[in-house]
Each structure stands twice: as structure tokens, then as C-alpha cells.
Subunit: 302 residues, 2 copies
């Protein structure tokens, strides 16, 4: 993996709007003073590239726009980002090194000392093989409390609820903690023990005819994969619903899934060692709905 | 300010340990894949350079070491960082553009896709003139709730309590909110209304013979300026103490101060518009103790 090709494209401001410029990925791109590096002050998105196409482009660009607005960063518009995405997909598909890649978009406030243009760029690289494996095999979770009550992030825009900011140190620390405990990922909970989300994914679970997720007003990130699945789950006779639930209620539900753009829909096998009921047919159906079916090879090996 | 010179030095790993390498500050330094830029995954320190000397070097390097350990980043040792600090101070003092500068140290986990060396560098640039002005004139604060109870970050190392990480998007958003409300800075509180700290500073207040600050087990960042002042406040007949207090109790105390390395000790003039009692003689004495007296010109103009 470590020698696999990867690509970088930058949005620059030309005479008539933003333009894309390809950049040697082995060369430095960012100033030592860039606020991304010194303060995690910016927003990002991670998209899956599969079979030469990017999944969920519109939802991701929309969320990036909302994140930028919440941060007060006046960034490029969706057309400029779309051109950047196209250029990265083109680079990847010309010389792919695997069936799937992760395409990242990064927007930062720019140089700390010199108010001026924002920094806007994208990268594409081979997907971490653990992610399609989890899509096929499911995930084991451990519960980590996020230290906030369910209502703690309402009416407090400075806490950036629902913003996909570059400040992911806690999310990364939670993933390391989960790995140290032998799990695939963490499941954040509120102080009351209600389920929130993963460090970079959305939790779904089924209660009869309802496909459920955490209420957005708990301050979780609105998931693009969750949104796509909710929009289409009527095709499976299910209805999407936001519900405040404890870990125990999710464990006893009719099945649970962790969703993210790069992982797709992965069945939750266990939470803190307690088994969650499995429904392989529904898992496969939800994966189809999400636009990211499990890899055939991995699925048949499972 | 925007054309003032500034300097960058990088720690590189030579054959016999880390070495310093000066870098053109107008040139890019960081990879598009650096985890500082893509995840705010690293630690930093900001030190004041004044009269050709850096203030509180030992405390800052100690805290950087603790932050790195909490993040699980195996970075350069204190000797390497000290050499980096020396080189930056030398560059600044050879061509200073003001009486004070801010020296930043940045440590990141390195390249996201390629596990290998960490990124370690430092910068020095002229200090934002608002900071010495606040040291001389005091600050007006607004209260912003951080959405956590006082005990919310205990025993939860993945929430990185006391770690000066690069993930400061919430801190930056709080500063913008404070500015939008016409204040100089924010004062974070717990859900119970207990005072915590500023987005980049420590709160002190006086209760009779006690100089007080927030209990460290509330998850606040241990302040280097606060530590220095506590160590030496016996010279003023005061004793340092950690106390859990409401905003109202601080407003009614015998005086309050916001401390940080670059601002030094600044008297709190008001909190949410309520005046806090002023003690200019004690403010000046605390500033002397901290090693950063208010600029003479600014002080006489106040």
C-alpha cells in the first residue's frame, strides 16, 4: 500500500473563477502557517470511488457547503468542487491500483497570519483494505462515552454540531482506543448512555418496520450514506426514523449497521462483546440501496 | 503585519538524531496527506519571545511531551525541541519587527497513508498587537457553555482532556462567537455553570488570600502561565488553590485574570457585561511574577 500511487489536485483562483491544478503528491503543498495544520480549522469530506465513479457526490458537496458556512469560511462553490472531483477521478481511473479508492476534499481557512485566499484541495488514494473487509464481514464495536448529554450540543453553534471539521483528534483517539480493545470501531454514547454515532460513521438499527438512527439534534453528523438509505428504504418496506435509544435497546433490536461513505453499510456483529442479531439478506439489501454492495470476492469468502 | 518577516525551522532526522533545517516561510512545507491537515492529529505549543528570550521554555516542552504521549505520537525529545526553539529565537532576534513574537511548535503524526516519521517544526512571527493591548487594558468576556458537566472528561482518555491538540476548531469558533458579541474572549463553562477556561487561556481569580483556578480534573488544559504564577504567588502572600466556582462567584470575587503565554496576565474587566472588581496593583504584580510585565508604553497610555 505504501508505494501505491496517489494524486493531489488543488483549486486555485484564476482570472475567471477557480481552476484545477494537479500537484506532485510527493511534494509539499501546505504552508507551515496553514490553519488546517495549526488549528484544525477547516472542513473535509471523504468519498468512495468505485468502478470509475464517485458515490454520493451531491450529498457530499452539499454537506461540505454546510460545514463551510457553519465555520464562516467562504470557499469555492459546488461547481468548482465538482470539477476538482472529476479531475481526481480521472487521475485515479487512468491508473487505478485497486477496485476502490478514497477521495478526500479539504477546505481550510488559509494562512494564519495573512488573511487571504482559503486553501482548497483534494486527494485520491487506494482505500484501506480493512474497510471493504468490514463491509463484507461486519464490525465489532466498543462503547465510548463522549461526555455530553443528548441535548448538550443544541443551541451552541460554537460546538460545531453536525460540522465535519478538520478537528478530528478525539475521533482518531477513539479509534485507537477501540483498536487497543480489540474492536473494529467505537460507538459514542451520551452521558445518559444513549447511542450517538461512530468516530466517522452513522449507526442504524431496525425496530420492526422502522430503520432507526440517532436524532440529528443530539449533535451527530448527518451521514450521507444514512441519508441515501433512508431515502430509499421504502423499497424494502421500511420507514426511516430518528430515535433516542440506549446501547441495550440497540443490542436487542432487530439488527444494527455502521454506515460511512468508504465502509458502506457494515453489519454490527457485537457491541462491548454482546452479540447483535444478524440479518444477512437485509444487510445485502441495504448495501445495494446505499450504492456500495459488498465486494463479491469478499462476500463469497465470508 | 501581513508583510512582516516570519521564519520556519523543521526538525529532520539525521544520522545521529534530529537536526534543524531552516525553511523558506513562503514555500510549502506540509504534504497534502499530513495528518495535521487532514485530521488535526497532533499537538502544539505557543511561546512568547520577548527581549530576545523565550518565556517558560521548560514548562512548554514538558507539556508538549505530555500531549505527544497522550496522543501516542513518538516525537522528538526535549533537547531536539530546545534546539529548534534556539534556532527560531536566533532568526527572530537577528531581524525583529517588534518587541514581542509568538513562537509555535507543531508536532503531527505525519503522513496519513504512509506510516513513517512524524512531522515536527516551529514558526516565529510578530505577535498579534491585540494581545499586549489586552495585557495592558484587560479583557471583556462572554460565557459560552462547553456542553459537558464538570466530571464529563474524567477517566475518558479518548476525549484528550488536558491535551493541547491541533484540533482547535471549537476553540476558534468560540473566539469568533465572542468577537461577534463584541467581547475580547470567551469563558467556557460546564453544563452546571461552573467556570472552565478560555479557548486558549486559563482563568484565575482571587478569594481573599487564595489565588484560584479551575480544578484540573474538570479536563481543562494545565496552563504554563498559571503554573508559573501559582509557583511564585507566595511572594505576594497568596496561596494557589483549585476550586469549582460558578460564573456569579467569579464575578463577585476579589478580581479575575485570563492568562496565556502570549497574552500574559490580563485583568478580566467584565463577564457577560457584569463588571469584575479591579486591582491594578495586584494585576501588575501578577504580570511581573509571570515573567511578562505589561508593555510600559501601553500601560502608561491606559
Amino acid at each position: 500500500v505504501s508505494d501505491a500511487p496517489r494524486y493531489v489536485t488543488v483549486l486555485t483562483r484564476g482570472f475567471s473563477g477557480p481552476e484545477v491544478r494537479r500537484q506532485d503528491p510527493s511534494k509539499a503543498l501546505l504552508s507551515a502557517f496553514d490553519l488546517a495544520a495549526t488549528r484544525g480549522d477547516g472542513a473535509f469530506e471523504a468519498l468512495l470511488v468505485r468502478d470509475g465513479r464517485v458515490v454520493g457526490r451531491h450529498r457530499h458537496l452539499e454537506r461540505l457547503g454546510r460545514s463551510a458556512a457553519a465555520l464562516g469560511i467562504s470557499g469555492p462553490g459546488p461547481d468548482a468542487w465538482a470539477a476538482l472531483v472529476d479531475d481526481l477521478v480521472e487521475q485515479w481511473t487512468a491508473r487505478p491500483t485497486g477496485p476502490e479508492a478514497v477521495l478526500k476534499l479539504v477546505l481550510t481557512r488559509g494562512d494564519e497570519g495573512r488573511p487571504g485566499p482559503v486553501t482548497a484541495y483534494g486527494t485520491v488514494a487506494a482505500l484501506d483494505p480493512a474497510l471493504p473487509r468490514q463491509r463484507a464481514d461486519g464490525v465489532h464495536l466498543v462503547v465510548l462515552c463522549l461526555g455530553v448529554p443528548a441535548w448538550g450540543r443544541r443551541l451552541t453553534p460554537w460546538l460545531l454540531p453536525g460540522v465535519k471539521s478538520l478537528s478530528y483528534a478525539v475521533n482518531q483517539a477513539a479509534k485507537r482506543e477501540a483498536a487497543a480493545r480489540g474492536a473494529d470501531d467505537a460507538l459514542f454514547t451520551t452521558l445518559e448512555g444513549l447511542v450517538l454515532e461512530g468516530p466517522s460513521s452513522t449507526l442504524l438499527w431496525r425496530e420492526g418496520r422502522h430503520l432507526c438512527t440517532t436524532p440529528m439534534n443530539y449533535g451527530v453528523l448527518p451521514g450521507t450514506t444514512q441519508a441515501e438509505v433512508f431515502d430509499r428504504c421504502g423499497e424494502l418496506g421500511l420507514r426511516g426514523a430518528e430515535r433516542g435509544r440506549s446501547v441495550r435497546e440497540v443490542v436487542r433490536s432487530d439488527g444494527a449497521w455502521m454506515c460511512s461513505s468508504t465502509r458502506g453499510v457494515a453489519a454490527v456483529r457485537s457491541i462491548d462483546g454482546e452479540e447483535v442479531s444478524q440479518d444477512p439478506a437485509l444487510t445485502a439489501a441495504l448495501q445495494e440501496l446505499s450504492g456500495v454492495p459488498a465486494p463479491v470476492a469478499a462476500r463469497s469468502a465470508a
